[in-house]
């Protein structure tokens, strides 16, 4: 609970720093991330070597944005069990084998490893997007690509209130645990009244918030501040990476590199 709130604050703080990646236009980062995700998951289920060059994108962005890897790796580890849970059945059901360097491996394991690599790459790319952009700028990028105003507004308001209601919930949970020591959760008799009273407080808060917003001239628009235009650097970033993704998708780069090296060594 507190961890989740802290993580949101952390990602918010990360997004506010000044570095080459954070300075890029949010639209460019959003598009690059979506194209990257599509390229990663479009690889075949047994593909491992051709996937590997795609790790350059998160690694380079990571380094340029000066992020600490620990927390983000922990996030990835947190998501892994689900993908492993479903992927682990691949070796069980796919009994075909393949011989690599004189050792025999089940193709099920190949597809499992491929799945795990894809999971790491996609989760890393998603977290990097938020950690270098922030929710409000992402909202602005969504407006540019034509997401309805009401949805973006709704999204940004939800985001803003999570911290507020999270704090309120943390206080309620602390109060409950002080009155019910040793209990692990909320007991059945209090299900409705506990969550319900938080809900009613939230309703009242929404009305006060709306009144306050109207007093400050709210007309249905959520101003996200700076309205930067897409510049040359942004285009360079987008075109450069997309070209790299497409080359990676069309050529098995590690294989070409490997055959070049083994060929040279062989001669």
């Amino acid at each position: 609970m507190k961890d989740s709130l802290r993580d949101i604050r952390l990602l918010d703080d990360l997004a506010r720093r000044q570095n080459p990646i954070n300075k890029l236009h949010p639209l460019v980062k959003l598009l690059t991330t979506i194209i990257y995700l599509a390229v990663v998951v479009s690889f075949g289920r047994y593909e491992i070597s051709a996937l590997l060059p795609l790790i350059f994108y998160p690694v380079v962005v990571f380094a340029l944005a000066e992020l600490a890897p620990g927390r983000i790796l922990r996030r990835i580890a947190w998501v892994m069990p689900l993908v492993i849970g479903i992927g682990i059945f691949n070796p069980v059901f796919d009994h075909q084998t393949v011989t690599i360097m004189n050792s025999t491996i089940s193709k099920g394991w190949l597809s499992f490893i491929s799945l795990v690599i894809k999971c790491v790459l996609t989760v890393a790319a998603g977290i990097l997007l938020v950690a270098t952009t922030g929710m409000e700028k992402l909202g602005a990028a969504m407006r540019i690509i034509g997401v309805p105003k009401i949805m973006v507004l709704q999204l940004l308001l939800t985001y803003r209130y999570i911290l507020l209601l999270g704090d309120e919930l943390a206080r309620m949970l602390r109060a409950y645990s002080l009155r019910a020591p040793g209990h692990r959760g909320i007991k059945l008799a209090a299900w409705g009244s506990f969550a319900g009273s938080l809900l009613l407080r939230s309703f009242d808060r929404a009305q006060r918030v709306y009144a306050a917003m109207c007093l400050r001239g709210f007309k249905g628009d959520y101003n996200t501040g700076d309205d930067a235009k897409v510049g040359v650097r942004d285009l360079q970033f987008l075109i450069g990476w997309v070209a790299f993704f497409l080359i990676t998708r069309s050529y098995n780069l590690p294989f070409l590199l490997g055959s070049f090296l083994t060929g040279v060594i062989g001669q």
Binding site: I55, L155, L157, T158, S197, N252, T262
Partner: protein, 352 residues
């Protein structure tokens, strides 16, 4: 229940994103036409409420475990289906972005599984049916419980369909369904009971909130007809897209073959599947298992096509090249990352 990006293919992810975008645009239009803008801050706060309430552990009596709230049904009851659905889309996006709970590419799938099934199927057709003649705490309890179970069963089935259509898992259809549906029976029951408890509390304390929501979100006869037509068109479109994709993927094909063969007995299916698996392992290294690379005319591209398709095949030379090149790629990536951060550190020191 949240699907990760790695589990879906671009075709399935794209189709579901398009479906979700259509539903969201329709809902947004409905809200702008029918409701005052007062609902917008309310939706924001309610979204945050669901987010916060997902962190509450509800102790399940006599089991020692605890359950959580999904929130789709509760939002539909309190805000009406359209506003509820839109609120759900933003909750799922924040979960995907900040907690990697469901991926961006799988976002459409997740909104469909968790938002559509509860807001547009179980709420209007089940909850509203139970409470059609006014509210009592018993009707709320039955309506919410039934809606919770049906909504999550539909959602879980969609997860199975989307994952299998993406061809990312070797799990046979029947096993996957038997794995997913019973688990989500329990989860759906808890969802329904918690929703019922909260709605009953709100109804007793502040009945006007529920009455307002019921008026604002009512689905008249006309819109139900329209909705059903839309749903039918959507199902045909999705079915078409999925079956098109299934025909390009060997396992999707197996899956659809199993489906069309009409398998009611699970043992029989497993038997057939086992037979196929045995056949496959005997005739292993069939060339059709290679993955297609984009076709190209140049000789270099031809090489790459060959290498892409031959990676799973037996060729000591190819595998060695793949291994050497692969490890070198990783080393290079690590080196570049290290060098960039080193130069950045130097730069910041120089600036200081």
């Amino acid at each position: 229940m949240h699907m990760a990006d790695a589990l879906i293919s671009p075709a399935v992810g794209g189709t579901m994103l398009a479906v979700t975008a259509g539903l969201a645009a329709y809902s947004a239009k409905k809200i702008t036409n029918e409701m005052d803008e007062k609902k917008i801050p309310l939706m924001g706060v309610m979204g945050a409420f669901v987010f916060a309430s997902q962190m509450i552990n509800f102790t399940i009596p006599a089991t020692g475990s605890s359950g959580h709230l999904g929130g789709g049904l509760l939002l539909a009851i309190l805000l009406g289906p359209y506003a509820g659905f839109l609120t759900m889309t933003s909750i799922l996006l924040i979960q995907a972005l900040f907690f990697a709970d469901g991926g961006l590419l799988a976002y459409g799938c997740n909104v469909f599984n968790l938002g559509f099934c509860s807001c547009f199927v179980s709420y209007p057709f089940i909850y509203r049916w139970f409470t059609r003649q006014g509210l009592t705490s018993r009707k709320i309890l039955w309506g919410a419980t039934a809606s919770g179970i049906v909504g999550l069963q539909l959602g879980a089935f969609s997860v199975v369909a989307e994952t299998l259509a993406s061809g990312k898992t070797e799990l046979p259809f029947s096993t996957f369904v038997l794995l997913m549906q019973p688990i989500h029976l329990g989860i759906g029951l808890v969802e329904g009971l918690v929703t019922a408890a909260i709605v009953t509390y709100v109804w007793r304390a502040r009945p006007e909130i529920l009455e307002k929501a019921a008026i604002g979100g009512a689905l008249g006869d006309r819109s139900i007809k329209k909705f059903l037509t839309g749903l039918a068109i959507g199902v045909v479109l999705i079915g078409g897209a999925l079956s098109w994709f299934a025909s390009t993927s060997p396992d999707g094909l197996e899956w659809s073959m199993e489906r069309t063969a009409g398998t009611t007995e699970i043992e029989a299916t497993d038997g057939i599947h086992q037979l196929f698996a045995d056949l496959q392992s005997r005739t292993a290294f069939m060339p059709d298992y290679g993955f297609k690379a984009p076709a190209g005319a140049s000789s270099e591209e031809a090489i790459s096509e060959e290498t892409a398709s031959s990676w799973p095949a037996v060729d000591a030379g190819t595998s060695a090249a793949g291994l050497v090149g692969g490890s070198l790629t990783l080393v290079l990536a690590a080196l570049i990352g290290y060098l960039v951060s080193l130069s950045k550190k130097k730069g910041s020191k120089a600036a200081a």
